[in-house]
Symmetry: C3
Subunit: 187 residues, 3 copies
């Protein structure tokens, strides 16, 4: 996770090329980038609560920064994975393209980004994100303690076991075409 | 008000079913919930400044969290109450339904919310909201001092008196159909 | 710059009437106001990085407050100036009118704003903005040190020199009709 907050203030231009399913940690890594290109078939989100696991604090706050606190709350408290079209509408991804075009589209944007004077971009990115990152990094000490207690609670273990059973039985097909293994609560 | 910041991080799923007019404190309580259902006739907002009273700091900041700082500024600095349709468009409420359907709609959402693993939702909600709440609770000490001075200023007393006179004369009918007693400044 | 954070919490109602090009410092001053009216021909934004200069931290954070962190990131990291229509769509300005109507439109809004009880508005505005302003003012001490180093870096000097040459050759016409002198990277 330390890597992630560093990715978020990287001096490099960062683009996430997302092909297919992008739940949990994958979603978080993509949110640390400057730009997100996603294939038109897939799903994205922080679906932790559906597995009985809490969303890590700064992953949730990062989503709130990206799409607004209200929209993030809705998704995070239900563990809903969303479609590429919904992700585009919410501003979670910047572009949705055909599966075969993901890398090409990302490279096209990168070609534009690297034209902007690098030193100025780097300093601006740090200005905009350093306060968030330093709070995130401070939290590294506290986080494992709370997370460990929660991961070992009987409710979490029960929910995780059920989720693993679902995944190892018939639902793999559902996931490979980009849909979440478990339909999330709708609101 | 202590109750409100506790409501905002309640371990329970919280839904606000709003029938008709929902100004000031009612609006704030509803903003502390996870989901808001509102009747199609009514009004909602923090209209304090129209009564010559400042919006309590964390009520205003909570609205800014919910609908964005810019939209909140506009509403709060003019004391405008908005219609259910406007509230839906701004993301201040999640659903608008016929007056008779409010409770039923709320129960339907609740039935979905309670299906999500409770421990994970509770921990996630606390992560997302604890920083806001602890700043809010710290402010309890400072708030009454400033508020008392403002409530006793001659300008506030004059405005409040005029508002009370308006309310006790002909404007009650206007309010029972959900419109604010006093039209707010338009921008 | 001290002036700007004071403008942002001014006890007066503040309106920015924008005619034509509004880059960098002009954009920032307008973001400190309560309302922005812009002419239909023009451009607005913080285009610092296009000149090889970083966006001052609290200018960037103020834009993030106004139009959301994600939209602000996109504009600031590419130094893009946007059209009045784009600015309206993003919520960067509140109204777009014909060039000849800018002042008249601003006065019309002001006539509404001054009707709202002043003491309550003032206290509410301070509540909503004081935390941001006090962080901004604290940063005044640190800012010049970092800015000075960056402004004197060889890359910045090269980029600025090229920009000045562009401006002093053929591009003045382009700017007088409200378009940025240098097309920003598109994303």
């Amino acid at each position: 996770m330390y890597t992630c907050s560093r990715l978020y203030v990287s001096r490099l231009a960062t683009i996430s090329a997302i092909r297919g399913a992008c739940p949990a940690g994958g979603c978080m890594m993509s949110m640390c980038c400057d730009h997100r290109v996603m294939s038109s078939v897939g799903s994205i989100g922080l679906n932790e609560v559906q597995l009985g696991i809490p969303v890590p604090k700064y992953w949730g706050l990062l989503m709130a920064k990206l799409i607004g606190a209200k929209a993030a709350d809705k998704l995070l408290l239900t563990g809903k994975l969303i479609s590429p079209a919904e992700a585009k509408a919410l501003g979670m991804v910047d572009q949705v393209v055909d599966k075969g075009q993901v890398l090409e589209a990302a490279e096209k944007v990168m070609a534009q980004l690297v034209k902007v004077p690098g030193g100025a971009v780097k300093a601006t990115k740090i200005s905009l994100r350093e306060d968030f990152c330093s709070a995130w990094q401070k939290y590294y000490v506290e986080e494992p303690r709370m997370a460990w207690a929660l991961l070992n609670s009987p409710e979490t273990l029960r929910t995780l076991e059920a989720a693993l059973q679902r995944l190892s039985s018939g639902n793999k097909g559902g996931q490979s075409n980009g849909r979440p293994a478990q339909p999330a609560a709708r609101m």
